[in-house]
């Protein structure tokens, strides 16, 4: 099984060194992605899920840096690469899709020019072939009459169309891995359903890997093969979608699932998690969720080791639920 994982993150630590102190946004994160698989990373604001994505893309700027850990694609280590070397991977082998397409797309350039630019940054291809590839990419994400859209400016399109264009650009160079950070959060439900459907098809057809970062467990339960739960920069639980949604063992994952309105009887009070997320500046050695956890004991102040529950299911907790 393990050799199907072409992308690996091992013991990743990304910290930000600010005047107020060190913010350990990502602590000891390890996961793998296989071809044809969607790995969902779920967490609330401040959980470090986006910083994980940015670390993989090599886009952590001062005062932050990757303190330790390894990120590898097909055995090639990415963490030590300099800007020029990383450029070969970024966009080409690993592509990223962000939440807001208006920030990703250049408002002054036609879609065509933005797509051509992405191709010619990595390959030299005749114009005719570039055109065909762009049409093909736009069509594959469900854009009707791509020939016309190619000449449009971003502002001439709806939010859903823009996000499709961004995804088409991400697919353009045939990447091995796409990292999507809240790509459908800003979209309407019906449009979100369409885009998720098309993305899943592309993943299955092209056999590429995807990391889908979101705060929305419901979306993940429909799209992801495996789910990783993060809290305050640390991993809480990782497993197949069935294991996480159907049989979560970590108290935090359970609480997160219980607080979703559709899992509660209408009109009843929602089960809520007491308290707030701790400040990343003052985190201790132990489990970051301990203070809000009803199963907390003294031992939770000690560093937590991973516990393997099944071949796919791992958990970081001293007092997991037994099922």
């Amino acid at each position: 099984m393990s050799d199907t994982f072409f992308f690996k993150v091992d013991g990743l630590n990304t910290w930000f060194f600010t005047r107020k102190g060190t913010i350990k946004s990502v602590r000891d994160i390890s996961f793998e992605v296989a071809r044809g698989e969607v790995l969902g990373i779920v967490g609330e604001s401040g959980s470090g899920k986006s910083v994980t994505g940015m670390s993989i893309m090599g886009q952590i700027d001062e005062p932050g840096r990757i303190v330790s850990g390894s990120i590898s694609l097909d055995g090639q280590e990415l963490t030590g690469l300099d800007f020029e070397e990383m450029r070969h991977y970024r966009g080409n082998r690993i592509a990223m899709v962000f939440q807001n397409p208006l920030m990703t797309l250049n408002p002054l350039m036609r879609v065509r020019d933005q797509m051509y630019e992405a191709i010619s940054a990595h390959e030299s291809v005749p114009r005719k072939e570039m055109y065909d590839r762009c049409i093909e990419a736009l069509r594959s994400v469900g854009i009707p009459s791509p020939e016309e859209r190619l000449n449009a400016y971003p502002h001439e399109m709806s939010g859903g169309m823009r996000q499709r264009v961004v995804i088409a650009i991400a697919l353009l160079l045939g990447p091995d891995l796409i990292i999507a950070d809240e790509p459908t959060t800003a979209l309407d439900v019906t449009i979100q359903a369409q885009i998720i459907y098309q993305i899943r098809r592309q993943i299955d057809e092209r056999g590429l890997g995807m990391i889908w970062i979101t705060h929305d467990l419901s979306t993940l339960s429909e799209l992801a093969d495996r789910i990783m739960v993060m809290y305050a920069g640390a991993m809480m639980e990782i497993g197949t979608t069935e294991e996480i949604i159907g049989a979560a063992r970590h108290p935090y994952t359970r609480k997160l699932l219980e607080s979703v309105p559709s899992r509660n009887a209408p009109g009843e009070k929602l089960k809520q998690i007491p308290g707030n997320m701790p400040s990343l500046l003052t985190l201790g050695e132990g489990c970051p969720f301990a203070n809000r956890c009803e199963r907390m004991t003294d031992i939770c102040r000690q560093p937590v080791q991973a516990r393997q529950l099944s071949e796919t299911h791992r958990i970081w907790c001293y007092h997991p639920f037994e099922d």
Binding site: E44, S45, G142, S158, G159, G160, M161, D188, V189, T190, I191, Q192, A193, Q194, Y197, R200, H215, D216, L217, S218, T219, S221, E222, L223, T241, E242, I245, G246, A247, K255, L256, L257, S259, V260, P261, S262, R263, N264, P266, G267, K269, L270, K271, Q272, I273, N276
Partner: protein, 334 residues
């Protein structure tokens, strides 16, 4: 309990789009052309009973926020009638102290709270100004209200930026509650919050409703939240209400094709992944809505009729209305 607190009849609101005075002038006199008009809300009728929560759900551009603002009285209507406890809304709103009975909570507390005022002033200001509480006792009054929304007493001296998103939304709710409203309008009040924080705010709203019998209009795009909080739900599409029913009935047996599509698209949390083929098509621009039934270009049941005739709301069961030409009452379940 079943007294009506608010009623809207054929409420509409149009906006002139992208026009400048100069362009209006040239259009009018030289080109004999009407400026582009966006009908954000188009003949909407609805009622709200005392103590009831009515949900309004729809996708972007459906006019739900414009409707909320008209109901809150901060946006005039282009045409139609609004009544508060039977009284014409405009004359009601002119009596400033009575107008406080209607309050609103907004999506983004950072832009709806004055960043340069302390929370004590934000919450207490209106109550003092309108004489609900003497200035000498305002501090205790504010601390009381803050306790109701779950904020510590020392919040009084702090500024909005010193709070987290969820706490700021609590301040926004406290501000609304401080003037003892009878009707609360929440426009996407929990949309920007994390799941666990969202649960806290929803619970807070449930508590407030139970304790004070407040009537609420809850605007949201999130069907899960709507289902949890509301007694009845209105579904809007491009400025019109397409279906309105009791929450349980709407979710159990939606009749309008758009409502069904919306419910199908709603991500459901389950360990079983489903493979579905979502309905195609985009939300048309509200500037240039399709003729007849606005939904016809995306509708799986479309007939010739739908292109030409505007469907009116019809009752298909007591308390359940919808605007579809093709779904007949007896063929409710397809």
């Amino acid at each position: 309990m079943n007294e009506m607190i608010f009623e809207a009849k054929d409420l509409s609101r149009s906006f002139a789009v992208g026009s400048s005075p100069l362009q209006d002038f040239t259009d009018h006199f030289l080109r004999n052309r009407q400026p582009a008009v966006l009908r954000a809300v188009d003949n909407v009728s609805m009622t709200l009973n005392e103590g009831e929560t009515l949900g309004v759900v729809g996708e972007s551009g459906c006019g739900k926020s414009t409707l909320a603002r008209m109901i809150a009285g901060i946006l005039p209507a282009s045409s139609g009638e609004r009544r508060f406890r039977g009284e014409d809304y405009d004359s009601f709103l002119r009596r400033k102290r009575d107008a406080l009975k209607v309050q609103m909570v907004f999506q983004d507390p950072m832009s709806s709270l004055n960043p340069r005022l302390r929370v004590g002033e934000i919450v207490g200001e209106a109550a003092v100004l309108h004489g609900l509480v003497p200035r000498s006792r305002v501090k205790d009054y504010v601390v009381d209200i803050l306790a109701r929304v779950g904020l510590p007493a020392d919040s009084v001296g702090r500024y909005p930026h010193q709070f987290s998103g969820g706490q700021r939304q609590r301040v926004g709710i406290a501000r609304a509650l401080a003037v003892k409203p009878d009707m609360l309008i929440c426009d996407e009040a929990v949309a920007a919050l994390d799941v666990s924080v969202q649960a806290q705010i929803i619970n807070l709203l449930l508590d407030i409703r139970r304790d004070s019998g407040l009537a609420m209009i809850f605007i949201s795009h999130d069907l899960g939240v709507i289902r949890h909080l509301c007694d009845r739900v209105a579904v809007m599409y491009l400025g019109r209400v397409v279906e309105l029913a009791k929450t349980s009935e709407l979710f159990a047996s939606p009749t309008h094709p758009y409502t069904r599509m919306l419910l199908d698209g709603m991500p459901k949390i389950s360990a079983q992944r489903r493979r579905f083929m979502p309905i195609q098509g985009e939300i048309p621009s509200p500037l240039n809505p399709p003729s007849g039934c606005h939904f016809h270009p995306r509708c799986p049941m479309v007939t010739d009729h739908c292109h030409r005739v505007r469907p009116e709301l019809r009752e298909i069961e007591p308390g359940h209305v919808h605007a579809c030409l093709n779904v007949e009452p007896h063929s409710k379940r397809l």
